[in-house]
């Protein structure tokens, strides 16, 4: 449900508004999916509720006022400095909005996470951030563009009608109608999602993996080979890895130990027939099933082609000076990349079966994205597909959910992940 949330005039010229740099006479509209919002009277007045939008707006006020440092030909702010000033402004914000604390939590709690969930900031190593001080937009469709800068909403409304702005109080997403947008300073959605730097299809991915994998025998002590069925009915094929890791592959409809089973699809690659396999092993200490050694198994004779991180001979190079607490250690990076590869492989198999007419295509209208294997991260980064679509998370993920660009963004993400969308 979407309800219009209207800001009211400020009750008076109290210092809070001046300190925050907010023009209390500004009148504009916020959007929300929260049914309870109708019970809130004057959110912009003293003692009224704060939202993720409010937290992001405070951060934009901060970044637009901060003295920046020039590094690598970019104007940057360090996280320590941002932290210091954000905490100072938080004091004023908390005196304006009674629910400021919960709003900060919903926006990510930690100021680093708040920034990660905001548009208008690019993040670099060692805690350096690049705020987009000048207007910048990501053109989504013919009607709307995502505002990808830290220009405050109050400032924006000085040159734009409130009817040309769409702002979500739940996620902080800000959209600008294209008719009100300057013709320059825009980039395309395709560019933003890096479509040209992704594999173009499931076939392209599997063929690259096949050509770059290593032909060698599987180890005998690392688990039992299981083969992936890809589909278990003719609906949109989904795979829930958590279920298999919990219950094991023997009780899974997606896996079988029988390579010759008729429900294990075999694909014709380079003139031979191949099935996708993996070694499943039970981890007694963690009481979970672990999947390793993703491989393509040739029917008949021949060693399998290992297409794991090591099978593909991929190396991850990290900067040794990197000390940020959210950094991945090398082992964790490899483990994460392995999971990423397995997700890619399994999605590729399912998509091939869709392409061949054995299962249904997903619909861009369908909000259910679970089990589709979309490339994403639990860290809500603008780089992650999940950041835009996952509406199930308790924190403010699913940034476009309920917005006018939700369907077009879902379609773009499905296509980036090789799905042919209805």
């Amino acid at each position: 449900m979407s309800v219009t949330f209207r800001f009211c005039r400020s009750p008076g010229d109290e210092y809070h508004f001046n300190a925050l740099g907010i023009d209390s006479t500004t009148n504009f509209v916020l959007q929300t999916n929260d049914d309870l919002i109708e019970t809130v009277g004057q959110p912009f007045a003293k003692d009224t509720v704060a939202t993720v939008f409010h937290v992001h707006e405070i951060m934009r006020i901060l970044l637009s006022q901060l003295d920046l440092t020039e590094r690598e030909e970019e104007m940057m702010a360090n996280s320590t400095k941002i932290s210091f000033h954000f905490e100072r402004l938080s004091y004023h914000a908390a005196s304006v909005w009674s629910d400021w604390g919960p709003a900060v939590e919903k926006a990510g709690g930690c100021f680093r996470t708040i920034l990660q969930r905001m548009f208008g900031v690019r993040i670099r190593q060692n805690g350096w951030w690049i705020p987009h001080l000048e207007p910048k937009y990501i053109e989504v469709d013919t009607d709307w563009s995502i505002i990808d800068d830290v220009v405050t909403t109050t400032h924006l409304l000085e040159s734009t009608s409130y009817s040309d702005i769409w702002v979500s109080m739940d996620t902080g997403l800000r959209l600008l109608r294209n008719s009100a947008k300057p013709s320059e300073c825009s980039e395309s959605l395709e560019h933003f999602f890096g479509r040209k730097h992704r594999f173009t299809s499931a076939s392209a991915w599997l063929q690259w993996a096949m050509e770059n994998g290593t032909r060698e025998e599987l180890p005998t002590d690392q688990g039992t080979p299981f083969y992936y069925k890809g589909i278990i009915n003719n609906e949109v094929p989904r795979y829930y890895e958590y279920q298999v890791r919990k219950n094991g592959p023997y009780d899974s409809e997606w896996w079988t130990t029988e390579l010759d089973a008729s429900d294990v699809p075999k694909f014709s690659i380079n003139g031979d027939s191949w099935a996708f396999g993996i070694l499943w092993k039970h981890d007694e200490e963690r009481s979970t099933w672990v999947d390793t050694y993703p491989h393509l198994r040739q029917l008949g004779e021949g060693k399998p082609v290992l297409i794991s991180v090591s099978g593909l001979r991929l190396e991850i190079v990290t900067d040794s000076e990197e000390v940020d607490e959210i950094d991945l250690g090398p082992l964790d990076v490899r483990r994460s990349l392995n999971n990423h590869l397995v997700t890619e492989h399994l999605r590729a198999i399912r998509i091939l079966l869709i392409e061949l007419g054995h299962a249904q295509k997903p619909s861009a209208e369908d909000k259910t994205i679970g089990g589709l294997g979309l490339a994403g991260s639990t860290v809500p980064s603008p780089f992650s597909d999940i950041y835009f679509l996952n509406s199930n998370s308790a924190s403010s993920l699913g940034i476009v959910i309920g917005s006018p660009i939700e369907t077009i963004i879902r379609q773009e993400i499905l296509e980036n992940n090789w799905y042919v969308v209805e």
Partner: protein, 595 residues
């Protein structure tokens, strides 16, 4: 600059945009793998053909002047998507044609065409289709009795009526247009035919035939199919021919060889032109229903057609011919067959043929007592002349264990000759297989319990002895006139027969046994519970050799074999003055031996 860069073989492929410990990553950006001017995407991967396209069932019998829509696609299966079928007529003796999937069937009865189903450029099925001009209606099976037509000029002429009456669920016309009887690939026309309506839905079908026997029984076929045609339908019934009125059994014949068995040594010694057996043939009737009967005699080497002259004929067969028969290829080494097949009206009747067998008697080779090391073939050894046995015996200094016995002159020369031959063979040869001297586990267990050798006697346990006897398959009867080696198991009971009469009385108590070394041992006396040496014996007794001794029970005239496997010669004097000598091998018992 990206946080996590992906390298392969020293080359950067791209970067991972974000990450957190133990969590998933955002989509990898393969910035260096795909330049901006990236090439066209690779060809799509397809499913490997592991399943088979299934074609829907279609009829193969079509009515003239009808149209049919053939199925347009295959039946889908797991990972096999239904595919469009391209139908084609690849052979056509009709005027039928296809337009896409619409089949138009044109032309009359028995013309045909072949449909092919092509899927993805490959023919995966063909259908041989028949066109029927009329509707086919089935009727129950008919049995027709074939009768001879005596006095007809053409020999073997028969006649029969092929009739059926049937009630149908609907009304059919009774305008009989033609009738046909198919036997094998041949069609025959009746001398008359008709269809008569008895009630609204009841029709009676009639037809009469006159056919030579060789067209009926050709290739042994005794069934056919009858078709009556009216203007719209074809009425069909299976036909079974009953030939009992022809009395074909009256011309069956038989015969035998006299003698029916030839000893191998007799076959391969003497004059080749000597007639050593005769083939006695007995024929049936000279004619059947006025048709002359002839016979074909097929031997292993030739086939001869003869006209019968007398009811019985004797054909002498020379040694040379029989040798040829046994040297001709056959599945059986020990007999050859002669087949006598009657022929009537130009038709062989294999079902009335008889087979006569001539057996080749080959003495059994010794199993035990081998002392040499040569691998002399037993058959070749048997065919050696007697004088060669003597030379071998001299050369190898093989002692005849019976030579010192006082009664030796009273034993028939044939028997002594075969025993000596066997002894010489044992003296020069080594066993081709392990000699059967070891008992199976069960016999090894039961034997000392049933026959406990004490110092001066053998204690017999009746019940255990019966268990052992049951395992051996009971008591054996030995013909003392046989020159064959007699095989027994340890302590197996046996009786002796001469001229079909049991050897009995007290005289066997004075029997002696002689082992391969020529050492003799007196017969033990059995009272059912123990075997012991009788004081009345004329010879002494070596109690150390108790397990080697035979035993005789006068009450039942039954002998018991020694307990230790080996070669034994049993000499039995009789009250009538005859003396018997039997060569016995006591062999170890293995359970398979009974089977």
């Amino acid at each position: 600059m990206a946080l996590k860069q992906i390298f392969r073989a020293g080359n950067r492929l791209g970067f991972l945009p974000w990450g957190t410990p133990g969590r998933r990553l955002g989509a990898a950006r393969w910035t260096d793998l795909f330049p901006e001017n990236q090439e066209a995407p690779l060809a799509k991967i397809t499913l490997a053909t592991t399943g088979v396209h299934q074609l829907p069932e279609i009829p193969t019998l079509f009515r003239h002047n009808t149209t049919h829509i053939l199925p347009e696609s295959t039946i889908g299966a797991h990972f096999t998507i239904p595919q469009r079928i391209k139908w084609q007529i690849i052979e056509n003796s009709s005027e039928s044609h296809l337009l896409d999937s619409q089949l138009s069937v044109i032309r009359g009865e028995n013309s045909n065409f072949v449909l092919s189903a092509e899927v993805c450029g490959r023919v995966i099925g063909t259908y041989e289709c028949q066109i029927e001009e009329r509707e086919r209606v089935s009727m129950p099976e008919i049995t027709v009795r074939v009768r001879p037509i005596p006095g007809r000029e053409q020999e073997g002429m028969c006649e029969f009526d092929c009739n059926q009456r049937h009630s149908f669920p609907e009304r059919y016309e009774n305008d009989s247009q033609n009738m046909e009887l198919r036997i094998g690939n041949h069609a025959h026309r009746p001398t008359s035919h008709d269809i008569i309506r008895s009630r609204v839905y009841n029709l009676s079908f009639f037809s009469s035939f006159t056919l030579p026997l060789n067209k009926l029984l050709k290739d042994g076929i005794d069934t056919g199919v009858a078709y009556w045609n009216n203007g719209i339908q074809v009425f069909r019934a299976d036909v079974i021919f009953d030939y009992s009125e022809l009395q074909l059994e009256a011309i069956s014949s038989g015969g035998c060889f006299t003698p029916s068995e030839v000893l191998i040594t007799h076959l391969y010694s003497g004059d080749n032109s000597e007639e050593i057996v005769s083939l006695d043939l007995c024929f049936g009737q000279t004619t059947l229903h006025g048709w002359p009967v002839s016979y074909t005699i097929a031997t292993p080497t030739q086939s001869v057609k003869i006209k019968k002259i007398e009811n019985e004929i004797r054909i002498p067969v020379k040694r040379e011919k029989i040798q040829q028969w046994f040297e001709s290829p056959s599945e059986n080494l020990r007999h050859r067959s002669i087949t006598l097949t009657p022929n009537i009206a130009g038709l062989d009747l294999p079902s009335s043929a008889s087979t006569i067998q001539l057996h080749l008697e080959v003495p059994e080779a010794p199993c035990l007592g081998y002392r040499g090391n040569r691998a002399e073939d037993w058959i070749k050894f048997l065919l050696r002349p007697q004088e060669e046995y003597h030379i071998i015996q001299q050369k190898h200094r093989i002692v005849d264990p019976l030579s010192d016995q006082s009664w030796i002159d009273e034993i028939s020369p044939e028997k002594l000759s075969s025993m000596n031959r066997n002894n010489i063979y044992r003296g020069i040869c080594g066993p081709a297989v392990d000699p059967p001297v070891t008992n199976c586990e069960r016999v090894t267990e039961l034997l000392p319990l049933a026959f406990n050798c004490l110092e001066d006697k053998v204690k017999v346990d009746f019940k255990t002895g019966k268990k052992l006897a049951a395992m051996y398959g009971g008591r054996k009867v030995i013909d003392v006139d046989s020159t064959e080696i007699q095989a027994l198991y340890p302590r197996q009971k046996f009786r002796l027969e001469a001229n079909d009469s049991q050897i009995s009385g007290e005289s066997p108590c004075n029997s002696i046994s002689i082992n391969q070394q020529g050492e003799s041992l007196a017969m033990l006396s059995s009272n059912g519970t123990e075997y012991k040496y009788s004081e009345n014996g004329k010879t002494g007794f070596d109690f150390d050799r108790l397990p080697e001794a035979f035993a005789y029970r006068i009450n039942s005239y039954t002998f018991a074999a020694p307990q230790i496997p080996g070669v034994y010669y049993l000499y039995v004097p009789s009250e009538g003055g005859d003396h018997y000598l039997v060569e016995i091998e006591v062999r170890g018992f293995i359970e398979e031996a009974i089977e």
